[in-house]
Amino acid sequence: MESSRAIQVENLTKRFGEGEVVAVDHVSFEVKRGEIFGFLGPNGAGKTTTVRMLTGVIRADEGSASILGYKVGSLMAKQVVGVVPEMANAYPDLSGWNNLMLMAKLYGVPAREVQERGIALLRGLGLLGRKDHLARTYSKGMKQRLILSMALISEPEVLFLDEPTSGLDVQSARLIKDLLQNLNRQGKTIFLTTHDIEEASRLCTKVAIINQGKIVAIDAPEKLRVATSGMHSIEVSFDGSLNPEVLAKLPGVNAVKRLGDKYRLYTADPSELVISLVNYSCSNGLRIVSLNMLAPSLEDAFVALTEKESK
């Protein structure tokens, strides 16, 4: 019977230097087939090191991992995945088409299918008109789309993308996100590392948050968001200025953040806080210009979880 697990990771550990720097510390998780799994974390948290171990580029010091039942690093595991590494380049002195054909040969794509697949991919990613131009003449967004097409030429079951939309123009980023959603609808499993919380929130069916080499939370983005207690917030703006410390003293306020001409107040009891704010504005002769109740965002969950772990 075919397992429902696409990726299984147990106690994966990687140390650098003489072993004193633990980049990834006994990380365990699993990704089900057909999931878009988001891997979030601050810089240096261990995201890229984890991806490199899973894609067989570097070896783990401890633990084990498998992809579709194949041990990571094995040729079979590499054969069934497509990879978009962080800051990777296509060969600048090869044309887009020749880059694609090189990958087709390295993945053993049957010759009779290569042309058709290659043209369809480049057309879908808006590169067909530039296919014979050297990759060095491509813009950053075009290069990233080319790298994505190189990862897809073998029609992999599992796709690893390390910061695929980082620093891209809006059009390229949207094209890539749409393509990922299409691929997921076709049943592909996608492992995505990203800094973009909004991207993870919209694309992923499950996210893991890694900090200082350790997984601090794994759940569906919505569950993770809701489970972060005390992170409801109210955004309010007044027609006059006031000291944020005054707002911090209102009952039920956990924290206050100034955002331009607005204040964001974090609370566990938003309805009680609305009443307090209205009372405060009336008694101090202030007029409320806008007031919005906000559910905790994935970004709030991310910040809360990574800060808690860092302390």
């Binding site: 490199r52 580029v57 590494p85 990777a88 380049n89 002195d93 053993g108 190189m150």
Partner: protein, 252 residues
Amino acid sequence: MMVPSATTLQQAQRALAIARKDIRIYYSKGPVVIFGVLFPVFLFLSFTIGRDVSVDFMIPGLLGMILFFTATAISPIVAPWEAQARTLERLMSCPVRIETIILGDILASFAFGLFISLVPVILGLALGITVSNPFIFAAAIIVAALCFSSLGNVFSIPPTNQPATVNMIASVIKFPVVFISGIFISLDELPSWGQVIAYISPLTYFTDIARNSIQGQGHLPIAIDLLALLAFTAIFLLVAMKLHQRTMPRRI
């Protein structure tokens, strides 16, 4: 889903794809080809002009130098270049063994060495040299090109991503090798201690075969020369394959 099994034949095909990529990117450049021919020619001429040497003596030495320098020119810097250009990680995540990547790099250098070696051979034939046993002569060029390409790859084992550092390491070894390998002075004229040093250089054995084929006399029997070249090739290949497995992931 049908997944192609990872047979040796498939890995060999993928090594050829890597070799073709290397040739397109690194070797098929006008300056690389011109430098590949001109540098050893000028170096050779600087040591032979003014000396009373025959064409029969010059051509084996020139061929040895050109083959040695061209086959070891680019192969040491492919891995650091690719690491620096951030293309190596993508390559390493493909379903290819590290040995396959190394073999591909060596095959590209081998093809380049063979191609450039045609220049002194054609020049020699135009100047009237005769080759006593063309088959052995051709076999020696093929084995030597593979041997020197493998040696070039050994130079890139240290996991630095600076091509200049690798070039420096390679130069420190390559230049002394040229002077101890019977290129400028035939082995028979070397003192016995000089001959002992010459035996540790693979270039010595190729130059000896070339002298044997063109001048009709060598220092060692051709069979010994060929066996020594094959042994050096096997050692360099083994060392390159084994040690790159350790150091290549450290380039990322």
